[in-house]
């Protein structure tokens, strides 16, 4: 009996790590502190926990953009001073830190978040305090917020092109594997609607808890399904365990390719290219994307952080987001979020991925879709692109099959 009691105590103690604070409750618009010769911005990323594998690189990339802008004179004559906070891969912590950045540090804008769960957690905080968040990662769409600029891809700029690509390759039977939270669940709902309308079959759908490392059963299920391809929406380092198990099960990119929407160069590097060579990814940018702007970006990033550090799509979107904010502020001649928002429509920037344009109505940006293949060197080579930037359509209004989604 005492053993059971001790066990209960063990369970209770290990749950103590979770924090329960939520974001701020003030209705007053937060005033950015721009009194001195600097302007503060917040960087909100997971620097620890399961998402750190991805988010640390985004923070580094944001810092690079800020350094570059400061070196060329700053924004409206003020130097940018970044305040970095650790969201710790924990959604309530994200909300708490967002509130701290807005109210205590009085930042002019905040850049960061990766998982949709963290974005959903901070969304009410930014809306309540009327402060701006620049979100740099592809996501599942079906969202708009007056205080968030989405600089990563929305569904019609990533997931839909990936499905179009699979269809064009004759891959009709697909299997869905994802982490168990908002992004994969919503994305898979969209994929199932697409499949139904396009003569594709979804053979199965499996979710593993975020951070999970036990994938042998899922690999067995995928193998037994005899699907043509796997659509992977796993996040963070669960991908490490998944791809190890995938290879152990004897599944290969030629036999059953995996299309991933959350694995970029940095993740390829830490998972190991021996597990990923030949697998597909869907993004808007790769380190190998041609163009002078990208050559400059890659060179500057490697000079600052090390020659062996790759650049990736979310890093590029984060880097671009700082420049877009700068352009908006300069057009508005003010740091005031309302004026910045009003000035946003039509702002363009020669980004490493190519020219991007802000769509003021949805606060998303026009982006080119790119499908890539992982090489044995760990870099991703483009195998297809959409030719021109695609207009963002977060609610998939342009697709009849998506009418039932919300």
């Amino acid at each position: 009996m005492a053993g059971t009691a001790a066990l209960a105590a063990v369970v209770a103690l290990s749950a103590c790590g979770a924090k329960t604070n939520s974001g701020g409750t003030s209705d007053k618009a937060a005033q950015a502190d721009t009194s001195g010769d600097t302007v503060k911005v917040g960087l909100l990323n997971s620097l620890s926990g399961t998402m750190a594998i991805s988010e640390v690189t985004v923070r580094d990339s944001l810092k690079l953009a800020i350094d570059e802008i400061n070196a060329s004179g700053g924004v409206l004559g003020k130097k940018i001073k970044p305040i970095s906070e650790d969201g710790a891969s924990d959604w309530p912590t994200f909300a708490e830190k967002a509130s701290k950045l807005i109210k205590e540090d009085r930042v002019a804008a905040t850049f960061g978040c990766w998982t949709s769960a963290s974005r959903k957690a901070v969304k009410p905080v930014f809306e309540k305090n009327k402060s701006l968040l620049f979100y740099p990662v592809q996501y599942e769409g079906l969202e708009e917020s007056p205080y968030i600029f989405y600089t990563g891809a929305t569904t019609n700029q990533q997931i839909v092109p990936a499905l179009d690509y699979l269809k064009s390759q004759g891959k009709k039977k697909i299997y869905l594997v994802g982490s168990d939270y908002v992004f994969p669940r919503t994305a898979n709902k969209e994929i199932k609607a697409y499949a139904k309308a396009n003569g594709m079959t979804v053979l199965g759908e499996d979710y593993a808890p975020l951070g999970s490392t036990e994938f042998s059963t899922i690999a067995n299920k995928v193998k037994a399904s005899k699907a043509d391809a796997v659509f992977n929406t796993l996040n963070g380092d669960s991908n490490v365990a998944f791809f190890k198990e995938y290879k152990s099960a004897g599944l290969t990119a030629t036999r059953m390719p995996v299309v991933s929407v959350s694995i970029a160069e940095e993740e390829v590097k830490s998972i190991g290219s021996q597990y990923l060579a030949g697998q597909l990814t869907a993004w808007n940018y790769y380190q190998t994307t041609p163009g002078a702007a990208n050559t400059r970006f890659v060179k500057a990033y490697k000079a600052k952080y090390g020659q062996d550090k790759p650049t990736s799509d979310p890093m590029e979107a984060a880097y671009t987001s700082v420049y877009l904010w700068k352009a908006m502020v300069e057009k508005a001649k003010s740091f005031d979020p309302e004026k910045v928002k009003a000035a946003s429509d039509g702002i363009t920037f020669e980004a490493p991925e190519g020219k991007v344009t802000v769509d003021g109505a949805s606060q998303h940006i026009y982006k080119t879709a790119r499908i890539g293949k992982v090489g044995t060197d760990g870099l991703i080579q483009e195998v297809w692109n959409s030719g021109k930037p695609i207009k963002p359509d977060p609610f998939l209004k342009g697709y009849s099959w998506a009418s039932g989604l919300s």
Partner: protein, 298 residues
């Protein structure tokens, strides 16, 4: 058919991982009545040892082989140090050991974060362990993952070695004597302090071995210990505290149960169902599967 066989193998391989993480704990918790919350961090220490060795030794295969004894020594030394510094003052006060070792586990996690950084790291498995072995060929082949076979072999070897050591060696006899009656053992001339420390060294060393095995499955991070410690306690409590045989059977039963449920439902539902099954089992048999002596912790 191959699906069922493949799934049974998956169950057995999950069981092998469970057994490895629980084995050392069965010695320190089961035999010595110490609730060691830092056991998970000893597993983490074993995993990081593998990582460090791989950085300094070229060749993934060689570094893995070297990692097994080194991780055993590193984690074992940490365990012996913990026993000598804190736990020996707390025998017969199991709930106090819980709190103290929980504090130690938090400190070790932070230490790992300071040394290796907050992001998780990975090791490279040797090429022979990244593939699989075909058991039944043909159109619908049955294959077993080599890394899982290696872990299974490791678990079997560890169980055999531990049970032989407990049964046949003078040290094993002394451990059993201390477990059965500490005072009588002491007056018979056994240095119970030394026996305790040695047992703690072995139990913690086995956690190090488990850590090496876990590097073949997933990433290595400061919180990997907390992810596995609950499973380890479940195996031991359900198996019957102090019963090696119980732990072995329960680890494999839970592994197979988990994999079968996972196959027919989803990962999250399977986890819930396994916990429900455990609660129901403990209602029916609160003393666990096997028990000889009282389950009272004192």
């Amino acid at each position: 058919m191959t699906v069922i066989l493949g799934q049974m193998f998956t169950g057995v391989s999950i069981g092998a991982v469970l057994l490895l993480i629980a084995l050392g704990l069965s010695l320190t918790f089961g035999q010595m009545n110490v609730i060691n919350m830092a056991h998970g961090e000893f597993i983490m220490a074993g995993a990081y040892t593998t990582y460090v060795l791989q950085k300094s030794i070229a060749g993934a295969g060689l570094s893995l082989i070297v990692a097994l004894p080194v991780a055993f020594l590193v984690s074992g030394a940490l365990g012996a140090l913990l026993e000598w510094l804190l736990i020996r003052r707390l025998y017969l006060r199991p709930l106090d050991t819980l709190l103290v070792t929980w504090g130690v586990s938090l400190m070790l996690q932070q230490l790992a974060r300071d040394i290796f950084g907050a992001p998780n790291v990975q090791t490279r498995a040797p090429d022979v362990l990244t593939g699989n072995i075909t058991v039944i060929g043909g159109d619908d082949p049955l294959t077993f993952a080599s890394s899982r076979l290696f872990i299974l072999g490791l678990a079997v070897a560890a169980v055999v070695a531990l049970s032989l050591a407990l049964r046949l060696t003078p040290l094993g006899r002394r451990i059993r004597a201390v477990v059965q009656n500490r005072d009588l053992a002491e007056v018979s001339g056994i240095s119970t302090g030394r026996v305790d420390r040695t047992a703690f060294f072995i139990g913690s060393g086995l956690a190090g071995i488990a850590g090496v095995a876990l590097t073949l499955v997933g990433p290595i991070g400061p919180t990997m210990g907390t992810n596995v410690i609950i499973d380890a306690f479940l195996v031991i409590v359900v198996g019957g505290i102090g019963q090696l045989k119980g732990s072995v059977i329960v680890a494999f039963v839970l592994g197979v149960l988990q994999s079968v449920l996972e196959y027919s439902t989803t990962v999250s539902v399977a986890k819930v169902l396994v916990l429900v099954a455990i609660v129901a089992f403990l209602q029916w048999r609160p003393q666990g599967l096997y028990t000889v002596r009282t389950r009272s912790l004192v």
